[in-house]
Amino acid sequence: MFSDEEVAKDINQKFEPVWVSVREVPIVTIDFGKGHKLTRTLHGNVATYVLCSDGTIVDILPGLYERDEYVRQLDSLFWVHHYMPRTADPKAFLADYHRAQYQSIKASGKAMEVNPFADLSKVSIEISVETILRPPGWRNSLGPAVRPPVLVEHPDFSKPGDLAHWKKLHEDTEVNETQRRGPVHEILLAHPGAKPNDVTKQLYREVLHADIDDPYLGLGETLFKDYPFTEDIPESSPRARGNTPAKLSATAQPSKFVSLSPKASRN
């Protein structure tokens, strides 16, 4: 995604980007012998936050998105951030925004669209949720009809363009927008003025279904339930402790976030 020239250019122009690691990603290696090894990541997940300069969360995009939709969503959040200081009460505006989006997703399965350049109109308008949000599909109705992309089951990963038409990525994007985005708005509505550290664990546990406090990310029961060799089961697993995953997450020690240190930087 971030290797795509257009995506990178768009992000660099509109945002101050930074990445952080919330924990190590599980890596599975299968050794087939004679030097034939297969290495894959397992159960990794991501979230994109858009923040104000004081760290207040504007909105969160949960999970991986298809390129065009990702750029579109980021553009919408850029405009929400742009409008915030132009309102009488930015906190109330943000709460209204999350409430409206939550209700829209609950009712129609889709979020409303943000109207760009609303404050640059010749007719001066008061910036509010009512004046900046438009019904789902509003942008597409303005321009010429866009033909839906032809999706492929097995893209050529060496070509970045092919990845944009990967069927699985489109399906994941759909799930993010229809099933995960609603709970995100609900969390942010319940935590007005929240910073990333206030909601990250809840987001990963309840929305992305990966408890980052659990050393086995909630997979412990599945991994060890029917495993016969008890001596191989680590002591930290739910079975060895005699805990259910629910008990485990309630008693687990809070983990520290891994420090971030990207190699590339603009500074």
Partner: protein
């Protein structure tokens, strides 16, 4: 006497005093020589019985080195030997690794005298310390470029930049590391 003549005489007196071993006025040369004397005596003792080599530091370097180096060896060898013992060849498959406390060998056992008298050779099995012998504590991930986005180093840096530019912060949160091959 003119001021210039006085200065010339004073300079001559200082030089004469230094050469003759007489402390000149204002110069604590005695203290300097007393500090240096033991070193000189050590060199002379090393070369005792070897006519014509008195006072020369390099008269018998082998003997000098062997005698002086022992103290250094006594300090460093136990640490080196611990390191070597720890990463010695792995135990055979199926054999339980020994948990007993290893005795630290005497430094004298690790020092073997070279045929050249006085030269000390340290018996370090350096080839056994190759990377293949080191225990892999954590698999090292291959590092890759984290895309073409110009990432800030930390959230605080990004927020500071946001304050200046007016742009929002984009925080990409993930499991693993964006610059790891498997992330």
């Amino acid at each position: 006497m003119s001021r210039r003549s006085f200065n010339s005489l004073a300079l001559a007196a200082i030089l004469a005093g230094t050469v003759a071993g007489v402390p000149a006025s204002g110069q604590q040369d005695g203290a300097k020589r007393s500090a240096e004397f033991p070193v000189q005596r050590l060199m002379d003792e090393n070369n005792k019985g070897q006519p014509g080599k008195q006072g020369s530091l390099f008269a018998n370097p082998a003997r000098s080195m062997s005698m002086r180096d022992m103290s250094k060896g006594r300090i460093e060898m136990p640490v080196k030997s611990l390191f070597i013992e720890k990463f010695k060849a792995q135990p055979d498959a199926g054999q339980e690794p020994s948990t007993a406390v290893r005795a630290v060998p005497s430094p004298a056992l690790l020092l073997t005298k070279n045929p050249v008298p006085g030269r000390v050779k340290v018996a370090l099995p350096s080839k056994t310390l190759g990377t293949s012998q080191k225990p892999a504590l954590k698999p090292q991930q291959e590092k890759v470029e984290p895309g073409k986005v110009r990432w800030h180093k930390a959230i605080q840096t990004a927020m500071d930049a946001s304050r200046r530019s007016g742009k929002p912060v984009l925080l990409f949160q993930m499991m693993g590391h964006l610059d790891d091959r498997f992330c």
